[in-house]
């Protein structure tokens, strides 16, 4: 199937009058500029319009550096855990038939529809001073909420479904035949998984990981609830941005924000690349089948 938009325009049955076409394009571009382009450009403008010196001072500040470190730590722990879960859940859902599959899919999506504030609240209720384990934790002088472990838990929660959500439709579309063939030919489970499944899903996997990472590094609401807001200790980049902004240190706030905006742009570039790779991979498959 060709995706060339010209095929619609050449056909009178599938094309609109010129003025309708240009009107729709104009509406789209105005909407796009106001709601997507403008906020992105504003981040970099606000970060840089006071000059490079202000910018460099903001991003090399020791407190900013500790925020970057904590953000990286949260991502380094939560992304691999959610990656492992995503692979396990996708394998379970796409390779086996069992009762309650639909329920499981719904439950995996749950963190997407729970407010980030509630995602933070639940860990306060479990590990906070008045929570389930509150007394025990105080007795043993352990701190989870309003400390680094709470931030990591909240980050795991909000970035939980990304890998699974990316892999399930992809593995569903690819079917089970290749793994079946591999098993019939005598490969064991791990051999099949590493030599057949992983090469097939690697691009989807990469996209799931970068989306998961973007959410993990950028989470604000959930982390805000469980963070102690202690400068240099329990502040991630987004929390550091909030403090700077509320102190009217606008240029510094936007300087830190520009780091996350660049991360977002890198995420989008990888996404475009992965989609292109997936498309070529999908287009190649029928040819390979035809040759066999």
């Amino acid at each position: 199937m060709s995706l060339d938009p010209n095929r619609f325009q050449k056909n009178p049955a599938t094309s609109e009058p010129r003025w309708v076409k240009y009107l729709l394009i104009t509406i789209s571009l105005i909407f796009f500029s106001f709601f997507l382009l403008l906020p992105l450009v504003a981040v970099f403008y606000e970060a840089l319009h006071k000059g490079w010196q202000v910018y460099l001072k903001a991003v090399t500040d020791p407190i900013a550096f500790s925020a970057v470190k904590l953000t990286l730590l949260a991502a380094v722990i939560s992304v691999p855990l959610n990656l492992l879960f995503g692979i396990s859940a996708a394998w379970l859902i796409t390779k086996f038939d069992f009762r309650g599959k639909q329920l499981l899919l719904t439950l995996i999506d749950l963190p997407f529809s729970v407010s980030p504030v509630i995602a933070g609240l639940i860990y306060v209720l479990v590990f906070g001073a008045q929570g389930w384990f509150g007394g025990w934790l105080i007795e043993h002088d352990l701190k989870i909420v309003f400390a680094v472990p709470g931030i990591i838990l909240a980050t795991i929660f909000v970035s939980f479904p990304f890998v699974a959500r990316e892999l399930i439709p992809l593995m569903e579309a690819q079917g089970r035949e290749e793994e079946e063939a591999s098993t019939v030919l005598g490969a064991n489970g791990w051999q099949t998984f590493f030599r057949v499944t992983i090469p097939n899903i690697k691009w989807g996997l990469l996209y799931g990981i970068i989306l998961c990472n973007a959410r993990a590094m950028g989470e604000f609401g959930a982390v805000s609830v469980v963070s102690g807001h202690i400068r240099g200790q329990t502040n991630t980049i987004p929390l550091h941005i909030e403090i700077l902004y509320n102190e009217y240190n606008i240029a510094a706030a936007f300087s830190m924000a520009s780091i996350l905006a660049m991360l977002a742009l890198v995420t989008l570039v990888i996404k475009v690349y992965v989609e292109w790779k997936l498309k070529t991979q999908m287009n190649l498959e029928p040819i390979a089948e035809g040759q066999s």
């Binding site: 709601f35 609830v225 941005i241």
Partner: protein, 278 residues
């Protein structure tokens, strides 16, 4: 073939089932059940009082109202954007297409301060509107703008693949039977897209109701006027009113679960209409 023997082909059923369920329970289900248990420690009267106080009700009206309006605006403009991206060729199209996902990738605190700066009195757009007495930042209108940003990709990305797979035969058949272009769109194309548009709308709505980061910087956060429900939960927590915060959280959670079930139903309908799986 029976289900059991079919499952025997692949190894790892027990392992993946066990791991998936344990991890899901530890990270999501058990902590979420804390909300239900904590809320049930309240007497029914206290619970009702916590979720129906005037300030709380005002926050529902604001959160749900702005979220509903933002999702509706996204349904309309998201459909137009998806249509333009699939059907037309224009300069800069690839950049527009790539940046549609920006709200997914850009941290909410970043978009939050950016919108607050753009729409404040001295901001790029704010200073143009200020002479006319239109205030966006620190009003519900500002909340609406942030929520439109957050929800846009949901509609575009659910409608786009359906539109991409839509074969031209239906439109050609309608055309050869004498329908004009407007009739073809409203009677042939739009009914096919309806489930996807509704799914996108529901996803955008669900996300907008609970949104926090991109809203609080532009909202003003004045009780009864521009205080969203998630912020109220945080305010209660900061006052150590854990039970009150949990009661409101449970109300929102029940709403989210209902919405999630509706979304699942809509997705099944989309799949049926368009012959796609997932």
């Amino acid at each position: 073939m029976s289900k059991i023997s079919k499952n025997k082909i692949f190894p790892g059923f027990g392992l993946s089932l066990g791991y998936t369920i344990v991890y899901l329970s530890l990270i999501v289900l058990i902590p979420l059940s804390a909300v239900v248990l904590k809320a049930s420690s309240l007497t029914p009267e206290a619970f009702w009082q916590a979720i129906s106080a005037p300030r709380v009700v005002a926050s529902y009206r604001l959160s749900f109202g702005t979220a509903l309006l933002a999702a509706s605006i996204n349904a309309v403009f998201g459909l137009i954007l998806a249509w333009v991206l699939i059907r037309y060729q224009f300069w800069g199209k690839r950049i527009v297409d790539a940046l549609i996902d920006l709200p997914f990738a850009l941290p909410t605190a970043v978009s939050g301060i950016s919108f607050a700066a753009i729409y404040s009195k001295n901001g790029w757009v704010g200073h143009l509107l200020h002479p006319y007495g239109i205030k966006v930042a620190y009003t519900p209108l500002g909340i609406l703008i942030a929520l439109i940003f957050i929800g846009l990709p949901f509609v575009v990305r659910t409608v786009q693949p359906i539109l991409e797979d839509l074969e031209t035969e239906f439109e050609e058949a309608a055309s050869s039977l004498g329908a004009n272009r407007l009739q073809i769109f409203t009677k042939v194309v739009f009914p096919i897209l309806t489930p996807a548009v509704l799914t996108g709308f529901a996803l955008a709505f669900a996300r907008a109701v609970g949104e926090y980061g991109s809203v609080i910087f532009i909202a003003g956060n004045i009780p009864m006027v521009s205080e969203i429900t998630p912020l109220l939960i945080i305010t209660k927590l900061e006052q150590y009113d854990y039970a009150g915060a949990t009661a409101i959280a449970l109300t929102m959670l029940i709403f989210s679960v209902i919405l999630l079930l509706i979304i699942n139903g809509l997705q099944a309908w989309t799949a049926k209409r368009s012959g796609r799986s997932f």
